[in-house]
Amino acid sequence: MTRFLRTTIVLLASFLMILPCGCVPLPENNMIEEITPIIFWSVKGGREDGKITISTLVPPLSKEKKRVLTLNVSLLNEGNKGFNLIYHNELKAGQIRLLFVDEAYAKRGLTSLINTVLTDPNISKRLFLVITKGNFDEFLAKHLDEKDSIDFYLYRMFKHYEKKKQGEITVVNLHQFMKMLYSQVSDPQLPVFRAEGEQLLYEGTALFDWDRMVAEIRGQDDQISQLLYRDRFVRYLVLPDLSVTLGHIRAHTRKKLTSDLSSLSIEIDVKGRIDELDSLTRIEDNFQYVALTQKIERYLEENVFHLLSQMQHLRIDPLQIGGLTIKPFSRPITRDTWDRHWSTMKINVKVRLHLEPLTKVK
């Protein structure tokens, strides 16, 4: 019996020793030096034959010359397969971090694309979704230098702004998008970037109706809309119309719906500093200070109102105001009911500024 056991152990040990050399019940080879993990896909639609263009950048090494791989395919994974055929390493999607989708494609609906991404168990739910305008491939083509790893820098930018929920740019990952998409009464949003030559500019936020992009808010409006989310930090709020820049802004927003869903009141408490003033404006005493504050408050209120009525007009709800209708002891309302109420809702906006002036105010 002892000898039998000992033989078994020895056999098992040698068996295990041999296995790393080859005979493994694991057919997939993920050996790190033999694969090329890609970091992003860029998907472009709008071709006449209904196909999509998918491109990516390889290799991920910073010291080597890069190249853009582009294919016209009808399915996303067909592109994946195609890439493997034209590149010497196997491309793996397990490290994919960014998904750039062309505006034209987004306007026709993202569901099929996102379903493909979701079903792949290798792809993380932290995938950042981005809408691009302009020629993204050309932008990539300008960053093929040996020292340049633009894909990584882009990822790090999103990661940076995501971390502390800064409102500098909108950052949405796959999970957040899906949660908003599935939520009964609200709609998702995504950041929009424009590729222009060597540059990729942040343009604003794309608003979605279900999975289709329907509108876009830009520049100053985008900054103001950041204030409407819960507890976001906005580094600069530039108001050129008033020749003022506010800085270090923390907004606290309270939204209240009347029980019959006829009106919505939004109160925004904005704390921050006046970072910059036009040379013509002066705040030397309290009166001037109060006057300026009031002016900014009015201005913000108008803009917020304008923004909201735009959303009402489009019957979309990216701010998740509809979420307020869900109560502990009542049935959640349906999307149709909410849309009906939302589009005709009266909106009151109240902005309260608590600003620190740059200089001492008498």
């Binding site: 694991l26 997939e28 993380s124 002891f329």
Partner: protein, 373 residues
């Protein structure tokens, strides 16, 4: 070489803690597998609480058994209660239940493993490895096995802490937990009630190993604590997943608790789910080993119990487990109808054994008390 005695017992130690840990692990066995199909709506959280109270009732009856003098006598105790044929019938009935539970757990776990960790590997490998290791664990005998539960707890307790960040996400809102009462056209889901009850089942197997638990009167206290902890854990994870996904998105996810692990990132590792699933193996292997010993014990009762235990016998039981599980996995585990069939079968089997076994033992004790007095 010393004589092998798998079912020996040497020390008399206060072991309420083992009962506590064992109950908790047996009840938490299903949380990865079963939970998602149950907790779709926020008001289902109440289901957990209600079923927790129901399970407390079963545990109360169980504690009556522990307080009686029978468990301390081991096999003779059972013989006194049920008679020689009674035991054989019990062992015969328990075998399919055990086999079902073993197969269901290991195939479901292998499924998760295959889905998340090694999508290209055959599922059968994920079944074979844990069972081999659990046989190795079982070879140390029942006494060592019962002790081992503390290590299992230590090996898995940290998993709970991973879910804390989900309560702190800024995108959470309390509205995701509403409505708290079922209001709507959908009928009240009896099935989910049963499912939660079956996932809280498992402590009835403590009857089989009560001899090693050195039963005592205080057992109810430990069982209650264990039950409360399990209910708390289920609630904790369900609330976390509801907050994270919202009640509309949640039903579309197959394994929410694992998917949530995937969302986590640490500075050194991403895809924490791979570690999480692997660590869950502690529980799987441990309980499989426990069940393997039970299978062996039960089949010994059916045959000649007088002969001493042997390693070979246990290994044969292990082989039977592997054969049963592999054949289910190979031929009867098509996604869709067959998988739901097994889930429902396990659900019914688990719930009924959890409800009936303590009652049966309790009635037997009552009858015995009447006949002897």
């Amino acid at each position: 070489m010393r004589a092998i005695s798998l079912f020996r017992k040497t020390s008399q130690q206060e072991s309420g803690f083992y009962a506590l840990f064992l109950t908790n692990r047996l009840q938490m066995l299903h949380y990865m597998i079963v939970m998602p199909t149950v907790l779709v709506q926020p008001y289902m959280l109440w289901v957990i609480v209600v079923v927790g109270i129901l399970s407390q009732f079963c545990l109360y009856i169980l504690s009556k058994w522990f307080a009686s003098p029978y468990p301390a006598q081991g096999c003779q105790g059972f013989e006194k209660l049920f008679g020689k044929t009674g035991i054989k019938i019990l062992a015969l009935v328990s075998l399919p239940f055990l086999m079902l539970k073993i197969s269901f757990i290991s195939v479901s776990y292998a499924d998760i493993m295959q889905h998340f960790v090694f999508p290209s590997m055959d599922r059968e490998w994920h079944i074979v490895f844990p069972i081999i290791l659990s046989c190795y664990l079982a070879l140390f005998g029942m006494e060592n096995m019962v002790r081992f539960v503390t290590i299992v707890i230590i090996g898995m307790i940290w998993i709970l802490f991973l879910y804390i960040p989900f309560f702190l996400l800024p995108s959470n809102s309390i509205h995701d937990l509403y409505p708290l009462v079922p209001i709507g056209p959908e009928p009240f889901a009896w099935k989910s009630l049963l499912l939660v009850f079956s996932s809280l089942s498992g402590p009835e197997y403590l009857i089989a190993i009560s001899y090693w638990l050195s039963p005592q009167r205080k057992m109810l206290k430990y069982l209650t604590i264990a039950n409360a902890i399990s209910v708390g854990e289920y609630l904790f994870i369900s609330i976390a997943s509801l907050l994270f996904y919202g009640s509309n998105y949640l039903p579309t996810i197959k394994y929410p608790s694992v998917e949530m692990g995937r969302y986590l990132q640490s500075p050194i590792f991403e895809r924490v789910d791979i570690i999480l699933i692997s660590a869950y193996m502690f529980s799987i292997i441990y309980l499989l080993a426990l069940f393997a010993l039970m299978v062996y014990g039960a089949s010994r009762l059916l045959g000649k119990a007088k002969k001493g235990t042997s390693r070979l016998g246990l290994i044969v039981s292990g082989c039977a487990m592997v054969t049963c599980t592999l054949s289910i996995s190979k031929w009867f585990w098509e996604p869709g109808i067959e998988q739901t069939f097994w889930l429902e079968l396990q659900m019914w089997a688990g719930s009924s054994s959890y409800l009936l076994l303590p009652l049966l033992v309790w009635f037997a004790m009552k009858r015995k008390a009447r006949t002897t007095s």
